[in-house]
Amino acid sequence: MEASLLEKLGWKKYIGQETASYAGETVLPRDIRRYALAIDDLNPIYFDENAAKKGKYGGLTAPLSYVSWAIGVPGGEKSVRELGEDGLATFVGVPEFPNTWELGWVRGGEELEFFKPVYAGDQVTVTGNIVDMSEKDGKSGKMIFVTSLFTYKNQKGETLAKHRVTMIATPRKES
């Protein structure tokens, strides 16, 4: 067994650390519409206020899955000059350690628990914590698994969703 990459990077101390906290801006009907078009879900409850009033939630809501990314990456708004060459900035589940981008990141998996939808006009707050880190020897080298738990709440303090994200970091092949 080779030396631990996790030890070398010095990341274990970050377990339990809060990694994200965004006080959300207002979700607009346009945001919801565009999201629904992107995922090609044309349910009228995402487009039409009147249809939405008669629907399950009694008002215009976003698809349940809207919480996971549409809300979760405001920290990723960077200029071209600030972005990495691969176009990446802040990423849901990728913590911002000093040496984060020495590694390449891919998504491992995620788990979402839904409690309430996001309504148009809601302000959604996200908090994220690193809950677990582990290391494995993969086929093409070391793999580090970083699991974060994100909690989404609306302006009334109601929990909308809980989201566990596992990201996999591997040493970059390019130099």
Binding site: D31, R34, Y35, L37, A38, I39, D40, D41, N43, G55, K56, P63, L64, S65, S68, W69, A70, V73, G76, E77, L83, D86, G87, L88, A89, F91, V106, R107, G108, G109, E110, E111, L112, E113, F114, R164, E174
Partner: protein, 148 residues
């Protein structure tokens, strides 16, 4: 909706009607713009293929969460609820692919008076590769109770 499915209507081992989604580069662009994701493997073909060795630009993995969410919330109907969804990213979803979501009921149980189903999910590309396997918990209304 009149075609509401109830907890009593389903059995363990039963499969949900499959649900198809065509991924296009335009959908990918719409998604990237709306969630503000600038990862070049999703839109820059030379970068994705030559620098990252991918067969094409690839759809953001998270679009699978949206596809499963639509698949399951539509099936569960107005009185049903998608409680939980967990997925693993195994293989890339490519533009031009029609993806097929499938779900199988592996367990029925009552949780605090609510009818719940545990489902095993697959999202297969046209070559039959399960790009994003998953599991879900869906709640369905029960015929006995007036209030779902």
């Amino acid at each position: 909706m009149n075609n509401q499915i109830f907890y009593e209507d389903v059995v363990e081992g039963q499969e949900l009607p499959p649900f198809e989604k065509l991924v296009t580069t335009v959908n990918i662009l719409m998604y990237l713009s709306t969630v503000w994701l600038m990862d070049r493997i999703h839109f820059d073909h030379p970068f994705a293929t030559q620098r990252r060795g991918l067969p094409n630009v690839v759809a953001p993995g998270n679009m699978a969460v949206d596809y499963y969410t639509q698949f399951l919330t539509e099936w569960a109907g107005e009185k049903g609820n998608l409680r939980k969804l967990s997925i693993q990213f195994r293989s890339f979803m490519l533009p031009g692919d029609t993806l097929t979501c499938r779900g199988k009921i592996i367990r029925k149980y009552i949780d605090e008076g609510k009818g719940c189903l545990e489902l095993e999910l697959s999202l297969k590309n046209p070559s039959g590769i399960n790009c994003v396997p998953g599991k879900a918990v869906v709640e369905l209304p029960m015929k006995g109770s007036k209030k779902a």
